[in-house]
């Protein structure tokens, strides 16, 4: 019955329209209305993505739910949408996270609430657009458009050093994506005037061109992931962003980079991907090991989680560039799981920050005495971040390591150190914040989770556990898509 219904367009435009409505409520005195519209919009946005999963055919290869309409006819640009298993999961994650972020900002944000909520709704719509675009220019437009709301979110509602962080974030990501634009226009010219990604998949390209295109793509996506050594904007952005901003940044925006590798780099320039895989793998392993060690010495909780994100995203790029089914599926699962876990950890820090207004580990201690429920949930997420079996964190990392063993034992060995370092920095932080004697009067005055906070964290805990115990619903939609992708990667496109 719903066939032919433009579900993807709805997933993109419902949040954006809701954002416009929220903006229309105007000044802060109308905040209750703004909150309700935002919540309704985000929930509706999530609900329309559910039929996508229900109606998704996990056995079919290629793209599903395609929508095609001319957009800029002079340049043969089409409004072309379609998803495969990878995009499906990311869209679900994105729409789900938006609901949580709206809830998380409910009382915490006190100034310019309508603008704050609208920025997140716009962001959500744009990111759904990135995940479903099959036209290169459409992809680029959505990809870039995400910059504006995030720039504002960090800059307006962020911490003391927010301006520096916002500008750094903006310029870093813009630098990468402008090179991406040049590469896309080059492809448009060599493909005789097409912006369709599907055409690019079939386009033969000489190796030099492939390598240059790969580098342009890489500059864009590696900054977003972010990969060492292009990661330095992330800790700043995370530390200064408001809690909701950090959650969206870690849970979804970082995935835009990895998604770009999967959707653009690998199928369009497979030979260059093979030629340069060694470099990417090396950078990924440096991220996993070195950034893991950097995380160990952080005194600021948000910074620690930010570095942990970089380290975990190293797993994702490693999994993508070892070119086998385990690695690739593991990478996608890891993306989703990291979306839940990092989002949850940032929310946990947010819960503490709202009460004590400090992110420093040294300012806490013995929180379990005053916030037992919170401590229990935080424990779950900390364990998941360390990759404990039975939580979602384990599944992806395990699959990537299995995939890596097939390629080179030492890749796997280096990657596996994260199980040690990850546990070390996460649990050490947890111990210092939660356990021990009550550190000071601020901690003594803490009150446990409110209903709203409990709902948000509880939903995430459920997701983490379900995915850890029963990953099959997530993995099964990926098989056909990952096979497609690997087929593209193994076929040489040299003329």
């Amino acid at each position: 019955m719903l066939l032919g219904f433009p579900l993807l367009s709805l997933a993109i435009w419902i949040p954006i329209l809701a954002g416009v409505l929220v903006l229309a409520t105007g000044p802060d005195r109308n905040a209750p209305a703004a909150r309700l519209i935002a919540l309704a919009g985000s929930v509706l946005g999530f609900v329309v993505t559910l039929p996508l999963y229900a109606r998704f055919d996990p056995l079919a290869s290629g793209f599903q739910f395609e929508e095609l309409a001319p957009w800029i006819e002079s340049f043969n640009v089409n409004y072309h949408l379609g998803i495969d298993g990878v995009s499906l999961l990311l869209i679900l994650l994105n729409s789900f996270t938006t609901v949580l972020v709206v809830l998380a900002g409910w009382e915490v944000i006190r100034t310019r609430i309508a603008q704050y909520l609208a920025a997140f709704l716009f962001l959500s719509g744009f990111m759904n657009g990135v995940f479903s675009a099959l036209d290169a220019l459409l992809f680029y437009v959505f990809f870039e458009a995400t910059l504006i709301p995030m720039f504002i979110i960090i800059g307006v509602w962020g911490g003391p050093n927010r301006v520096y962080a916002a500008v750094k974030f903006f310029l870093y990501t813009l630098m990468g994506s402008l090179l991406l634009l040049v590469a896309l226009i080059y492809l448009y010219n060599v493909s005789d005037g097409s912006f369709s990604l599907l055409d690019y998949y079939q386009l033969p390209l000489p190796l030099t061109a492939q390598i240059l295109i790969f580098i342009a793509f890489f500059m864009s996506f590696a900054v977003k992931v972010p990969m060492w050594p292009l990661h330095t904007w992330l800790p700043d952005a995370h530390v200064e962003a408001p809690t909701g901003g950090s959650v969206v940044l870690a849970a979804i925006m970082l995935k835009l980079g990895a998604y770009g590798f999967i959707r653009l780099s690998l199928p369009i320039v497979p030979d260059a991907s093979h030629a340069l895989a060694g470099v990417v793998i090396a950078l990924s392993l440096i991220a996993v090991v070195y950034i893991g060690l950097v995380a160990l010495v952080q005194a600021d909780m948000k910074k620690l989680i930010a570095y942990s994100s970089i380290s975990h995203m190293g797993f994702v790029t490693l999994g993508i560039f070892i070119f086998n089914a385990h690695g690739m599926e593991g990478a996608v699962i890891q993306m989703i799981s990291h979306g839940f876990i990092s989002g949850a950890l940032f929310l946990c820090v947010g819960v503490l920050y709202d009460r004590v207004h400090s992110r420093m580990i040294a300012d806490y201690g013995g929180v379990v005495n005053t916030m037992p429920v919170f401590a229990a949930l935080f424990m779950l997420f900390a364990m998941a971040n360390s990759g404990l079996p039975g939580t979602s964190g384990f599944v992806g990392e395990f699959m990537v390591i299995v995939g890596a063993v097939k390629v080179n034992f030492w890749y796997a060995a280096a990657a596996a150190t994260t199980l040690v370092f990850g546990a070390a920095y996460t649990l050490w932080m947890y111990k210092r914040v939660i356990f021990g004697a009550v550190a000071n009067r601020h901690v003594a005055a803490l009150s446990d989770l409110g209903a709203r906070e409990f709902l948000v964290l509880g939903l995430l805990a459920l997701a983490v556990l379900v995915m850890g115990v029963w990953p099959n619903p997530f993995a099964e939609v990926l098989h056909a898509s990952v096979n497609d992708l690997l087929n593209h990667v193994t076929q040489s496109k040299l003329p």
């Binding site: 105007g26 957009w71 800029i72 006819e73 002079s74 340049f75 310019r112 603008q115 220019l137 680029y140 437009v141 870039e144 458009a145 910059l147 504006i148 720039f151 504002i152 800059g155 307006v156 927010r162 301006v163 916002a166 500008v167 903006f170 310029l171 813009l174 630098m175 402008l178 090179l179 634009l181 040049v182 226009i185 080059y186 448009y188 010219n189």
Partner: protein, 482 residues
């Protein structure tokens, strides 16, 4: 009536000329309290010219005055945009000039004559017609800059503008005279035929080209002929700055099309001027964007940003084919829209005795007036070329033309400099949204300004989401006219 019909293509110009003379006379009998009559008449004159142009528009190029004057689709589209730009900027300027004792007949009459000059330039098919239009425009602008007699900065700016402008005109004339010497004609379509017939490269022609391109560079404000731009933009009253920075760019684009693409578009010359334009474009992008960062005055910053934008425009033109010309046209149209909005916003925030021209004056606009801050945000991101604003598509199709012509490295250079450009546009957004307001005076513009300013900002978004109509219009008018 029989003898008038051959002048049909020039009806809009004749109409505007007549109206300008009428207004000149009527203004004598209007007292200062009723000066609004002059203003209304000026708007009516422009609207009338708009209607005339629209009604006399033909698909095929129509020539008159013995082939000295042409009316084709490109000229119609550009003229319509010129009227709209002038009408909009007059609305924006009204309160501003009224507060500075410039709400006088001279301002409006000069504006009309400048508009007439632009129209003649746009429709010129003869080097002398081209020059005539250019001088009419330039002389009107010189006097408009100097209109605020008591202001030392404005007088200095006018002087500088006049001296350098005259120099540029001289160069241009010198180049034109050499073209005449080499070919024996001044008519642009004839010129193209004769040069195409010459075949081999003629040294005199290349020499002439150098002077013509230098003259063009001056008028556009491209590096290394850009020195007047920041001082004039800064020194002139903002109402005049927005005039200089908007509609004349459309005329300058037509000027380049007529002269380089039509007159000197023969193959052996294209590669010559391509090389010159590459140097000018890269230098403009570099100096415009890098120097803009150091500016604390918004008008100066926008002046340097204009230099950078002109570099981008040249990139489109230097591709030397229809794709590139259409890209250039789209770029210049979008640029004019953005510039109108940005300078309009400066005037909107200014009031009697206070110029909101420093970057600091935009501090905290997001808190003072969220709507105008949002409009300015759209304008700034459009200038920076961030999607989904229309500025992105302008940059996109220029880059596409450049890559299509085989200059991938130029595209990379352009992209890197627009990244630098993004920094100072983002800085203004930062000031508006992230900083606390320094000024708390209420912002209460007239209703028409509010509507137009909102439309101007939203146009950035609207054309950004649906760029096709405007793009197709530019492509069609270039194809029909060149």
């Amino acid at each position: 009536m029989q003898f008038i019909t051959p002048l049909l293509p020039a009806y809009p110009e004749l109409f505007l000329l007549a109206m300008a003379c009428v207004i000149l006379v009527v203004d004598l009998f209007v007292s200062d309290e009723h000066r609004v009559v002059t203003y209304a008449l000026t708007q009516i004159a422009l609207a009338g010219a708009l209607a005339t142009t629209f009604l006399t528009s033909t698909a095929e190029p129509a020539y008159t005055f013995s082939g000295m004057f042409v009316d084709d689709l490109m000229s119609d589209v550009l003229k319509l945009l010129v009227y709209i730009a002038v009408m909009v900027l007059l609305v924006y300027s009204r309160a501003y000039i009224a507060a500075r004792a410039m709400f006088r007949g001279e301002f409006f009459v000069l504006a009309l004559f400048a508009t007439l000059g632009m129209m003649v330039m746009i429709s010129a098919n003869h080097l002398l017609t081209l020059y005539l239009g250019l001088e009419l425009l330039a002389l009107s602008l010189y006097s408009m800059v100097a209109l605020q007699r008591d202001s030392a900065v404005a007088t200095e700016a006018a002087m500088k503008y006049f001296v350098l402008g005259a120099l540029a005109s001289g160069m241009l004339l010198y180049g034109m005279s050499m073209l005449y010497g080499a070919t024996g004609t001044l008519e642009i379509t004839r010129l193209a035929e004769i040069i195409a017939g010459l075949g081999a490269k003629d040294v005199v022609l290349v020499f002439a080209l150098v002077f013509v391109v230098a003259g063009l560079g001056f008028k556009l404000g491209a590096v290394p002929f850009h020195m007047w731009v920041p001082d004039v933009y800064h020194g002139a009253p903002t109402a005049v700055t927005v005039f200089i920075g908007s509609a004349p760019k459309l005329a300058a684009f037509a000027f380049i099309m007529r002269l380089l693409a039509q007159g000197l578009g023969a193959e052996q010359l294209v590669e010559e001027w391509q090389r010159m334009l590459i140097v000018m474009a890269v230098a403009s992008l570099a100096i415009g964007n890098v120097t803009a960062i150091a500016q604390t005055n918004l008008k100066r910053m926008l002046a340097y940003s204009t230099i950078g934008h002109m570099g981008f425009l040249l990139l489109g033109i230097l591709s030397g084919n229809l794709v590139g010309y259409s890209a250039g046209m789209f770029y210049v149209v979008v640029y004019v829209l953005m510039n109108l909005g940005a300078f309009g916003m400066i005037m909107l925030l200014s009031r009697g005795g206070f110029e909101a021209e420093d970057l600091e004056d935009f501090k905290g606009l997001g808190a003072r007036n969220p709507w105008y801050a949002f409009v300015m945000l759209l304008l700034m991101f459009s200038m920076a070329g961030v999607p989904p604003t229309v500025g992105f598509y302008a940059k996109l199709i220029v880059l596409q033309a450049v890559i299509n012509a085989g200059y991938v490295w130029l595209a990379v250079v352009a992209v890197l400099f627009s990244l630098i450009g993004a920094f100072y546009y983002a800085r203004l957004v930062k000031l508006m949204y992230f900083d606390a307001p320094a000024d708390t005076a209420p912002i209460a513009p007239r209703g028409d300004v509010h509507v137009l300013m909102s439309a101007n900002g939203l146009a950035m978004l609207l054309f950004g989401i649906l760029p096709e109509p405007l793009m197709a219009l530019c492509i069609r008018s270039i194809q029909a006219s060149l």
